[in-house]
Symmetry: C2
Subunit: 338 residues, 2 copies
Amino acid sequence: LGRVTLKDVAAKAGVSYQTVSKVINRTYKVPPDTEARIWAAVSALGYVPDQQARNLRSQRSRMIGYSWQSETPPETSSNVQNVFLTAMVEEAAAVDYYLLPFSHPVRDAHVEDYRRLIGSGRVDGFVLSSIDYDDRRLAFLLEAGFPFVGFGRSDPDLDFPWVDVDGALGLKLAVDHLVERGHRRIAFIGWPAHSRVGDTRLGGYLDAMRTHDLEPEPELIARGASSFEFGRDAVARWLDFPTSRRPTAIVTVSDTLAVGALDAARSGGLVVGRDMAIIGFDDDPLARMVWPPLTTVRQPLREIGRACIEILIRLIKGEPVEHRQILMTPELIVREST
Amino acid sequence: LGRVTLKDVAAKAGVSYQTVSKVINRTYKVPPDTEARIWAAVSALGYVPDQQARNLRSQRSRMIGYSWQSETPPETSSNVQNVFLTAMVEEAAAVDYYLLPFSHPVRDAHVEDYRRLIGSGRVDGFVLSSIDYDDRRLAFLLEAGFPFVGFGRSDPDLDFPWVDVDGALGLKLAVDHLVERGHRRIAFIGWPAHSRVGDTRLGGYLDAMRTHDLEPEPELIARGASSFEFGRDAVARWLDFPTSRRPTAIVTVSDTLAVGALDAARSGGLVVGRDMAIIGFDDDPLARMVWPPLTTVRQPLREIGRACIEILIRLIKGEPVEHRQILMTPELIVREST
């Protein structure tokens, strides 16, 4: 069984050798249907570009592909993503690599972007962000045997290199802190059901509550968009409850949600830090600029970025990786909101 | 006079042909002093890598280098820079290009990064951010004749393609709005003297004040770091003035400064929007999340990014560019802080 060549791909796609080369090297635009046919042939045949020829030419690309799921509009994009992107650019530069960032609005369309970047030899490996359950990118990259590291985990039984913050521990730190201060009716505002990070953090909240013999109440759990408005509206609804059913404290999964919660409490005539406690997550610069400054769970984004790059470079070089799955410990930063 | 070749560079640097190739193609690390010697030789000889050979291989890189001056630590970096970076990644992708981002803590060291990226054929052009007076990158790129566009202007007599927001107009919109609401003692918080953007915006403030027959008072002008703390401390000092000398309104050059100002006013027992008016700049997501929500001057970052990419692609293709210097109009977003 011979090696699959560019010519095999051309024959299968019914186009010329040159056209395949143009598409794979991304040097010219070809009609979309032609391009689709070529990538289908690449995929069907399991064609791998001539790595040896590419190596002769330039050894390695010294580029790392980095992608994340973009939100619309980008002006509302999470500051965590933005700060992480900047940190990754600098951590890559520190080991003499460049970052090649790209975003994807729809996860399914996204595997094509990875296939192209591999096919054209543009990158030596990937760092993946915005990972969720059943993430097609993971299956694709594992099958392709191409070096990558995830910022975040996926299905528990999927074994791949990742670095993540211990979000469940973060929520536990938040709940413990509130219980210590005498709170018992502690509400939770988090991301939608069936989101990987949302489930992990909700789990941390539920476990921590039960540890303190507090039964979490479904009416004090709000899950939805990670927006200022969602946090504000959730708290506004709770403030309409009779006093006995109202939460006295709120934990959230992002500072943006917490600032929304803070806004609703203030609108409702409460003094946050005295009448109600609110805890954020991220330690976004925003957290210390609002009034009262937010108690929050700090993510070590810089350290996560550095660990991702370190693992990836070892994978690229084929060196052994001692710790290929790293769960980083978050830190509770206590400020006036609690 | 023959074309300068890799061999000439090798001879001048006193290293082998292979070593020069490794450095220029950035495929291997060589000792720093050797690398410095090679780049010095490249520079001295005016060596230009064999563009034709490179073109044969891959026509264009389809990559755009994008750099900005990084702040330390990156967690405090301006959200404007972060949002612009994300917008640029997506605007480049829309025309089938990738962005190659890199940051530089010290401007002087930075020309080397540009030289390397050009030398290794990694990018087809650059978008420059964090531009200031006497920016060495501009002189270097103009001399090299390499395609680039600036997000921002430099010395008025330096002719290069740029896209910028009309910061002076932004300050005028802010001052006009405050004068309309009856304010006369309007203070200014901005960036340091001798910074290009800082001077432009201060100029806009001064002109607008004089248009309304208001003589700007030196004691009501604070220039320094673009931080929450600088904004807060400036206002705290003004609140110590006797009432007749206190400002009743404040214009700033960033939302971060404005939020600091807001914090000081609140600490001083003032209700912002009633006892004091404060205006930000940027329309950062932060602006609508603080209390009271900030009136601010919105920068059309997405449109600026799109225009930068459009001009650059034309320059790369050698196509005529109708508008190579575009001054975009900012918009005043009125909220409760005024």
